[in-house]
């Protein structure tokens, strides 16, 4: 038992490197799930690249406590995320909000893909197979590529 206590005091005094494990009580399973969902979408404002769920910084501890209190008080995910954003800025949100500065993130991939789609359909869509020779007939006049 002495050894055991020694180990405890030893570990208590030491700084944890990762994995935070706490035991909070919730009224029901939905609340607990919501809690885990929210803390794994919030970035620890002081750490390098960790969610407040994974970080052991004291600030993350406090934030987890706040989230837990708010979840138990029946606040929604949106309300809690807003609360955090107001205090710590966009930085805490791992899900970047859809706003002009982030339009490039949210819209440019789809736009690029649609442009490719349209160009391919326009350029290749008009091609047909010559029934006699079995060759591909280039019906598009813009093509600078030579069919061989």
């Amino acid at each position: 038992m002495k050894k055991f206590l020694l180990a405890i005091s030893l570990l208590l005094s030491a700084q944890l490197a990762e994995a935070v494990i706490e035991t909070y009580d919730f009224d029901n399973e939905e609340q607990e799930q919501l809690y885990y969902e929210i803390i794994s979408e919030l970035r620890c404002p002081k750490c390098q690249n960790q969610t407040i769920a994974d970080s052991d910084a004291s600030l993350s501890r406090d934030l987890r406590f706040i989230v837990q209190q708010k979840v138990k008080a029946g606040e929604t995910k949106g309300q809690i995320l807003n609360y955090m954003q107001e205090r710590y800025g966009d930085f805490v949100l791992y899900d970047p909000p859809v706003q002009p500065a982030n339009y490039i993130l949210w819209f440019s991939p789809l736009i690029i893909f649609l442009i490719i789609l349209v160009v391919v359909v326009i350029r290749v869509g008009r091609r047909t197979i010559d029934p006699e020779t079995g060759d591909v007939k280039m019906n598009d006049t813009h093509s600078n590529e030579k069919g061989e």
């Binding site: 050894k3 055991f4 020694l6 180990a7 405890i8 030893l10 570990l11 208590l12 030491a14 700084q15 944890l16 490197a17 990762e18 994995a19 935070v20 494990i21 706490e22 035991t23 885990y36 979408e41 970035r43 390098q48 690249n49 960790q50 969610t51 994974d54 800025g89 966009d90 930085f91 949100l93 791992y94 899900d95 970047p96 500065a101 982030n102 490039i104 993130l105 949210w106 440019s108 991939p109 789809l110 690029i112 893909f113 490719i116 789609l117 391919v120 359909v121 290749v124 869509g125 091609r127 047909t128 197979i129 060759d135 591909v136 280039m138 093509s143 590529e145 030579k146 069919g147 061989e148």
Partner: protein
């Protein structure tokens, strides 16, 4: 003495690289036989020089030579011998040395295995790789020399290797990943050499393919190992966080995957030549970008160990030169490249084009998501984050059509096909997959459709669809033979490779989807002798011990996990405190299984001898890495196809050709 030798050989390798990066070009240009031959000799010697240099650093680690600053900062007398060896690449300087060693290894391999290529082509390829070696050896020598001494103030003991890295995962993950990163330099060199001589023919594509595939295999395994390591070592139960450093390796993998496909179209049909060359350049550029992101310290993420602006600028300038010069060369020469466009809208060419478009846009999603926070920080006052919610959503948007089209892309004909006929062959297979997926998710959801996640269902359908579609493909292809067996034998090894790799993608998809949606994670308080129920499993706290490790002391708990009375496993998670760094680490205990993992990580001691522990139940998590193994095996089959063994197996091949009527 030995570190000085290491440094000396590194300098010799530098001079060797300069010669290799210049003379062969002149030799190829003037068709000077001696200089072309020189490229091969210089390729052998540069590899040997780097090998000796690397061994010298390894000896310094084994001998605990703390007069070498890099050793003193990353090793310790208590560190076991195998970690002293793997500590060589445990941080910035040494991992760069490994990077260069692997690069010269690739140079040596190209020089050895390219006998069937035109001599001046090989000389140019080796020359381009020599130039890359010049860049990276000078980076090592002038900004990150691992042989620098701490004289005259030699520390008594070293500062120790980061405990996170004292693990089997670290021994194998970085070398694998670097093999992949650097391996893409070969196809890049092929592309540049091809552009230089203005000829990108069938031979060029044929010989670029196995080099691309082998680099891609290493990359696949390297990423999977990294993910596996993060899963069991970091104690957070996750396996991918879209961390910038993870993305840095994922970017060249995605581009390389696209490249493998477009090379197929270029070789078989002469299509998309200029795009394939551009993609080869982009893939290696993304490798370099990854190296820049990781090695410059520009990212402040858990992986970034180096933090020195000189280094960052050096790589950035090098990156700009390589990318800039290649793109200028491309702009000048690509107009000489004539692609064939002998295909219609419903053809395998277009299937590959969409594969490439979707993979390229996926690459763009990862790229823009990784760089956006850096841009925001650099150009505005604010700071922003882009994390898993963004990547998961946007990546799915483009990966869903990839999975949906994959089975059709395997089967569709080159040039022209009949779409309604093609769909007809597959419709019932697709319907069966939907039914099977409904049953599977119904079961996993606790035998109810209530609160069934639509994405979980969709992911399962797509995973099964790819597997079913691939089986259908084998069925259709083997029907061409006289008997089923003869038909199967007629399918070439490279097509079996494709089949296996595509099944791998499906297996990984199923693993990702099912583990994401059906994992159970619970933090509990548990006292010795107590049993706590976590969903279906019960955890019994059996014993507690204190252990003395080689360079740490550890508190170890013993838990018995059972499910409805049946014993599952005895799990022994630990909390270790490392002597030299005084860092505390959790060693999670995992009971692995093909269909589920049970995972326990120790938290902190609470009052009355109780502990906070985290219990995970992770269904199908192993499938994520199992799929990567399938992909890699598929790659091995494809690159050992008989047309790449022609020299050695000429006799056998001609016999086969006769029997196959080819």
């Amino acid at each position: 003495m030995i570190p000085e030798l290491g440094n000396f050989f590194l300098i010799l390798a530098f001079i060797n690289a300069i010669l290799l990066g210049t003379l062969p070009f002149y030799g190829a240009h003037t068709n000077h036989k001696g200089l072309i031959q020189f490229a091969h000799r210089a390729s052998t010697s540069i590899f040997l020089l780097m090998l000796v240099s690397f061994v010298c650093l390894t000896i310094a680690f084994i001998q605990n030579d703390f007069s070498v600053a890099y050793v003193a900062n990353h090793s310790n007398t208590q560190l076991p011998i195998y970690y002293r060896i793997s500590a060589v690449w445990g941080s910035h300087e040494g991992s760069l040395l490994l990077w260069v060693l692997i690069l010269t290894g690739w140079i040596f391999a190209v020089s050895s295995f390219s006998k069937s290529l035109p001599a001046e082509m090989t000389a140019r390829v080796l020359g381009v790789m020599g130039l890359i070696a010049v860049g990276f050896i000078s980076f090592t020598l002038f900004t990150s020399n691992p042989f620098e001494r701490t004289l005259p103030f030699i520390p008594i003991d070293g500062a120790d290797l980061n405990p996170l890295l004292q693990d089997f995962g670290l021994i194998v993950h970085p070398p694998m990943l670097y093999m992949g990163y650097v391996g893409f330099s070969v196809v890049f060199a092929f592309a540049i050499a091809g552009l230089l001589q203005g000829k990108l023919d069938h031979q060029w594509a044929k010989w670029s393919r196995p080099w691309t595939t082998v680099a891609w295999i290493f990359m696949t395994l390297g990423i999977a190992l990294g993910s596996w390591w993060a899963y069991y070592e970091l104690g957070w139960g996750g396996w991918w966080f879209w961390d910038p450093v993870e993305n840095a390796s994922f970017l060249p993998w995605l581009a390389g995957t696209a490249l493998i496909h477009s090379l197929a179209a270029t070789e078989k049909r002469g299509a998309f030549k200029s795009w394939t060359v551009l993609l080869a350049i982009l893939t290696f550029s993304l490798s370099l970008l990854g190296t820049f992101l990781v090695r410059s310290g520009v990212l402040t993420s858990v992986h970034a160990f180096a933090n020195d602006p000189v280094r960052g600028k050096f790589i950035l300038v090098f990156l700009a030169i390589v990318v800039g010069a290649s793109l200028i060369l491309y702009a000048i020469q690509s107009s000489k490249v004539r692609s064939k466009s002998n295909y219609t809208l419903v053809s395998r060419e277009i299937a590959i084009l969409f594969n490439n478009a979707l993979l390229a846009v996926s690459t763009f999603v990862v790229l823009v998501g990784t760089l956006h926070p850096l841009m925001v920080e650099a150009f505005t006052d604010g700071k922003s984050s882009v994390g898993p919610p963004y990547f998961n959503l946007m990546f799915s948007v483009f990966f869903i059509p990839i999975l949906l089209l994959m089975p059709l892309g395997q089967q569709i004909n080159w040039k022209k096909d009949d779409l309604p006929m093609l769909l007809k062959k597959y419709i019932w297979w697709f319907v069966s997959c939907v039914v099977l997926a409904l049953l599977l998710t119904f079961g996993l959801n606790g035998f109810t459709f209530e609160a069934l996640e639509p994405m979980a269902l969709l992911g399962t359908i797509l995973g099964l669809w790819v597997i079913a579609g691939t089986i259908k493909y084998i069925q259709l292809q083997s029907a061409k033979g006289k008997t089923r067996w003869a038909g199967m034998r007629k399918i070439s090894r490279s097509y079996w490779g494709m089949v296996l790799a595509h099944i791998g993608v499906a297996v990984t998809t199923l693993g990702v989807v099912l583990t994401s949606y059906y994992s159970i994670e619970k933090d509990i308080r548990i006292e010795m002798g107590e049993t706590v129920e976590v969903e279906e499993v019960s955890v019994y706290f059996k014993d507690f011990q204190n252990i003395q490790g080689p360079n740490y002391i550890s508190s170890k708990a013993i838990f018995e996990v059972s499910s409805s009375g049946d014993f599952i496993a005895e799990l022994k998670p630990e909390k270790r405190r490392y002597n030299a760094s005084q860092m505390v680490m959790t060693e999670a205990a995992i009971d692995p299984g093909l269909f589920r993992d049970v995972y326990i990580a120790m938290g902190e001691p609470l009052n009355n001898g109780a502990w906070a522990i985290r219990v995970y139940y992770k269904p199908f998590v192993r499938w994520i890495w199992l799929g990567a193994i399938f992909m890699a095996l598929g790659g091995i089959l494809a690159m050992t196809d008989k047309r790449y063994r022609e020299k050695k197996f000429k006799k056998k091949v001609s016999e086969e050709a006769v029997s196959n009527g080819q």
